[in-house]
């Protein structure tokens, strides 16, 4: 229906030429519901105004509506298109309605223009529409300045619909509205969209996911990614899309909010190459030289030289066997890590939780390249790390850093702060003495420690626990790593110092752009910090997924238990009673069988594989049962009924 091709819009300003849209291509089929998301300034509204022929700047490229080129239209032709074929609900920035005419008059106006003189008809149609959008008769004759923002928005929607257009463009239809009015409007628009083609422009992701089926992500005038709305918003492929989603709070958000690092680029002097590269954590040299094209990928399209968010660290079927003294001095073996697999993506925080003894630390050491697994492979950016030699191995050490569980034991007490932080640089042979000192001071600055000579010459025993932990972080950061593995970084700290420590880690992760693999036994903490969470039990990953999903709908009984036992300020004494059942055959079946309240006979025989379920992965035969239990949760049902 609408075919936008290589659309380019520029404005001449005092500062020079501003490129608002750059080679934007988008197709909208009849009846389709398409969304456009992006930060303010990304060119969303300009795109909509271009379709309406209302943009002020120079427009190049092509916009075809049912095969007709819209950019060639003259003003007289536009009068016949606007409102009759394409209608737009503008973003309500106040004064969207003329203050000197009543609402009804203004809603009727476009109808009377098309059907001159038919006042009676116009009145009927306008009042029906106004009623449909939820306005009362006393609003009809009101002047716009006596109406609330939500009422004006409804009026604008009615006005856009009066000539029954085919394509409806909604620019921020729900922004600046309270939650209830927004919910009502979304339902109304959803109803309207049943027999129309709609284009929704919004930074409000919750509106976009409800109203559209396909979405394009716009950044600095370029489309970064397109795809089915739901999968795009839940599992974004482009680093920018992910950053956008990460900054958006929803009711189920548990993680602390994080803005997108860096500043929105100037449109007068746009960055060369990919417009997002200055803020991207995985940018290569190529990204700053060449602009990536929008390439079809799976269900959508993606504009990224790196093919979207890359996988930094991947462990597959990892097994680590340790010997242990058995009866009568016999040597027996046990698997601390028993077939676990983990993937860590660029710029994300993955939290690994599990009770002590579940093999978390061993897994961390394996991933960090300091404990070779008995079986399985670890890949860092597609290179198997245990097969690396010489220079490459040294290089890996630089980009993969680990924070050990206990800072007191992780430092030499005979070295001063300065030497502790400088040592990795020295080993790697980076820079000369002077630049190294500079690097040390910078790293200390990042973690909020003084870089003066007094502090640099302190010994570890002269530092507090929090300070020492920071020193170890500085020691890791001085290498500018891509991956930081943190093993219980805050277990020994009190709540306040822990809060500061984790805030610092999250801030550094966002600013420095490394991926963080956080190991903790505290599920509440994991939820506050992690983008994704993986649950480990007896050396296996039993569940994994986006934090908000796992916390809302745990699919594994073990996760459910951990969640129930997570710290809370309730007086009730936890009534944890782990059932212990005996399996017919040891070594077979689900590892959690012994404690599982939902287990069946199948669980005792067959070990469940890690399977995808929605956006989560779970290793449980009974996941469906747990899912059902979650869905029956009356609280959510009630909310759904109200809306």
């Amino acid at each position: 229906m609408l075919d936008i091709n290589n659309l380019k819009v520029t404005f001449d300003t005092r500062m020079g030429e501003v490129n608002v849209l750059n080679q934007v291509s988008l197709k909208i089929a009849p009846g389709e519901r398409v969304g456009i998301i992006g930060e303010s300034g990304s060119g969303k509204t300009t795109l909509a105004l271009s379709i309406m022929g209302l943009v002020q700047g120079q427009v190049q490229g092509s916009i075809k509506y049912r095969g007709e080129e819209l950019l060639d239209k003259r003003e007289e032709d536009w009068e016949k298109i606007r409102s009759k074929k394409i209608s737009m609900v503008f973003q309500n920035t106040g004064e969207m309605l003329n203050p000197v005419y009543t609402l009804l008059d203004q809603v009727m106006e476009p109808y009377l223009k098309v059907n001159p003189g038919k006042k009676k008809e116009a009145f009927n149609r306008a009042s029906n529409l106004l009623k449909k959008v939820g306005l009362r008769e006393d609003h009809f004759y009101a002047y716009p300045f006596t109406l609330s923002g939500g009422e004006v928005q409804r009026g604008l929607i009615a006005m856009a619909l009066i000539n029954d257009p085919e394509l409806l463009i909604l620019d921020e239809p729900t922004s600046a509205l309270d939650a209830l009015t927004r919910a009502e409007l979304i339902r109304l628009l959803d109803e309207i969209a049943q027999n129309k083609t709609i284009l929704v422009i919004s930074h409000d992701l919750s509106t976009v996911i409800k109203l559209t089926r396909r979405t394009a992500v716009l950044y600095a005038g370029s489309i970064m990614e397109t795809g089915p709305t739901e999968s795009l918003l839940r599992e974004p492929k482009h680093p920018y899309s992910r950053a956008l989603v990460r900054a958006y709070p929803t009711r189920t958000t548990v993680k602390d909010l994080q803005g997108i690092r860096g500043e929105f680029p100037s449109l007068v002097e746009p960055p060369s190459g990919c417009p997002f590269h200055p803020r991207c954590t995985q940018a290569l040299e190529k990204c700053s030289q060449e602009k990536p094209c929008l390439v079809e990928a799976e269900e959508g399209a993606l504009a990224c030289h790196r093919g979207g968010i890359i996988t930094l660290l991947r462990g597959e079927n990892l097994v680590r066997r340790f010997p242990r003294q058995g009866k009568e001095g016999k040597e027996i073996y046990f698997n601390a890590v028993d077939g676990a697999g983990v993937t860590l993506k660029e710029g994300e925080i993955l939290a690994l939780v599990g009770e002590s003894g579940s093999g978390k630390t061993t897994l961390a050491h394996i991933l960090a390249g300091i404990n070779q697994p008995t079986e399985g492979k670890v890949y860092f950016q597609d290179r198997e790390i245990y097969s690396l030699k010489g220079r490459e191995k040294k290089d890996l050490r630089r980009r993969l850093q680990i924070l050990f569980q206990n800072p007191q034991e992780a430092v030499s007490h005979r070295m001063m702060v300065h030497d502790l932080v400088e040592e990795p640089l020295e080993i790697q042979g980076i820079g000369d003495k002077e630049t190294r000192v500079q690097g040390v001071k910078e790293a200390l600055g990042l973690v909020g420690l003084p870089g003066d000579s007094f502090f640099l010459h302190k010994y570890p025993h002269e530092l507090s626990g929090g300070e020492l932990q920071r020193v170890t972080i500085a020691r890791a950061l001085v290498m500018k790593p891509k991956v930081l593995i943190a093993d219980e970084p805050s277990a020994s700290l009190d709540a306040s110092v822990q809060a500061k420590m984790l805030k610092l880690l999250m801030h550094l992760q966002n600013e420095q752009g490394f991926a963080l693999f956080l190991i903790t036994h505290d599920l509440a903490l994991a939820g506050k910090v992690g983008d994704r969470v993986a649950v480990m039990f007896l050396g296996k990953i039993v569940e994994e997924g986006p934090t908000s999903e796992v916390f809302r709908f745990p699919l594994h009984p073990y996760t459910e238990l951990l969640l129930d036992m997570a710290p809370s300020l309730e007086r009730e004494v936890p009534s944890l009673r782990r059932t212990v059942k005996l399996k017919e055959e040891e070594g077979k079946g689900c590892p959690y069988y012994a404690h599982c309240p939902y287990s069946t006979e199948l669980c005792s025989r067959e070990e469940p594989p890690l399977k995808e379920k929605g956006f989560q992965r779970v290793a449980c035969h009974r996941a469906a049962a747990l899912e059902k239990k979650n869905n029956n949760n009356s609280y959510y049902k009630e909310i759904k009924k109200v809306l």
Partner: protein
């Protein structure tokens, strides 16, 4: 609206009091202030008579009451230059001024607003640039100079219009002929006054239009698929008109003083001309009376403006006032 009435009554009281107290606050006695040196030539009887006439006997309070009662009776004093009561002289001149001021006000506002709308709608365009230059040129010419120029070319050289007065004396015209005669006399002073008035209206309307064009509701109107003319006049000009109307009230006051020069140049027998004559002859009762009348007119004009503004802009109506106060 009640508050507005109160404002006007207050303004009137202040003006009346000023009119009363100013001569009395001047050094020397009020009669000297009013008549100046002319008082010295008067006999003591006449002086006493005048003092009585002006209510200058008794305490200040008593005097004020006499002054107010005289005003209420329409007695503004006696003009010795015209040899008639001030009220009478003013009422005779007033219709001419009203005709001149009214006609030029209507015409200049209409033209100024119209070209202002066109200019503002396409500001930066060719028509706009031309109009700006032309109007600025016009703006540089003072009203009396404009009058002299018109008089010189159109009357003196081309003999198209009469040189002075409001009617041809002793012509005995009646009916249509009289109307035509009045119009012929009116044309030049009216034209001079109109030309001088146009720039202000034009510039204000143009500015106001440019402001309104940027408001979001113009974008809404465009998105509705309306014709450009409709957007320009129904949506933009209507909103932009408000400052013009507000200014109309003020410009009436300015016109009454501006008309002074024009009436003098064309010897047009309106209040301005009378004022000029009275001023020259130190006829202070006449001057005070004329000023009082002008004040009354300005107040009335302002009041009318308020009423019309409220009609045009619903935001200024009573309930809207409360709304605005709250925000």
């Amino acid at each position: 609206m009640k508050r507005r009435y109160l404002d006007y009554i207050l303004a009137l009281v202040v003006i009346l009091s000023l009119n009363f107290f100013l001569p009395r606050l001047m050094p020397g006695d009020p009669l000297t202030a009013i008549y100046g040196d002319a008082l010295l030539d008067m006999s003591p009887e006449l002086q006493a008579q005048l003092a009585e006439r002006y209510g200058l006997e008794g305490t200040l309070g008593e005097q004020f009451i006499t002054y107010v009662t005289n005003l209420l009776r329409g007695d503004l004093g006696y003009s010795y230059y015209f040899g008639a009561p001030v009220t009478e002289v003013i009422l005779e001149a007033l219709p001419w001024t009203l005709l001149l001021v009214g006609s030029s006000l209507l015409i200049s506002t209409f033209i100024g607003v119209l070209i202002g709308i066109e200019s503002g709608w396409r500001h930066g365009g060719r028509l706009d640039s031309f109009l700006i230059v032309a109007v600025m040129f016009l703006n540089g010419i003072p009203s009396f100079f404009m009058g002299i120029l018109l008089l010189l070319f159109l009357s003196f050289q081309l003999h198209l219009f009469p040189l002075s007065g409001a009617v041809t004396p002793f012509s005995g015209y009646t009916g249509m002929a009289l109307v035509m005669d009045i119009l012929r006399h009116l044309f030049l002073p009216c034209l001079a006054l109109t030309l001088v008035q146009i720039p202000r209206n034009f510039l204000l309307m143009r500015n106001s239009m440019i402001g309104v064009i940027r408001t979001p509701y113009i974008l809404t109107a465009q998105g509705k698929g309306l014709k450009e003319r409709v957007i320009q006049y129904r949506h933009a000009a209507r909103g932009a008109l408000l400052p013009i109307i507000t200014r109309l009230g003020m410009s009436i006051g300015l016109l009454f003083t501006g008309v002074l020069f024009i009436e003098t140049v064309f010897a047009y027998p309106g209040t301005g001309y009378i004022f000029y004559l009275a001023l020259g002859k130190h006829d202070f009762p006449m001057v005070q009376g004329t000023l009082f009348f002008i004040t009354l007119f300005v107040l009335a004009a302002n009041f009318l403006t308020d009423v019309i503004s409220a009609k045009i802009d619903p935001r200024l109506r009573e309930h809207a006032y409360q709304l605005l106060d709250r925000t």
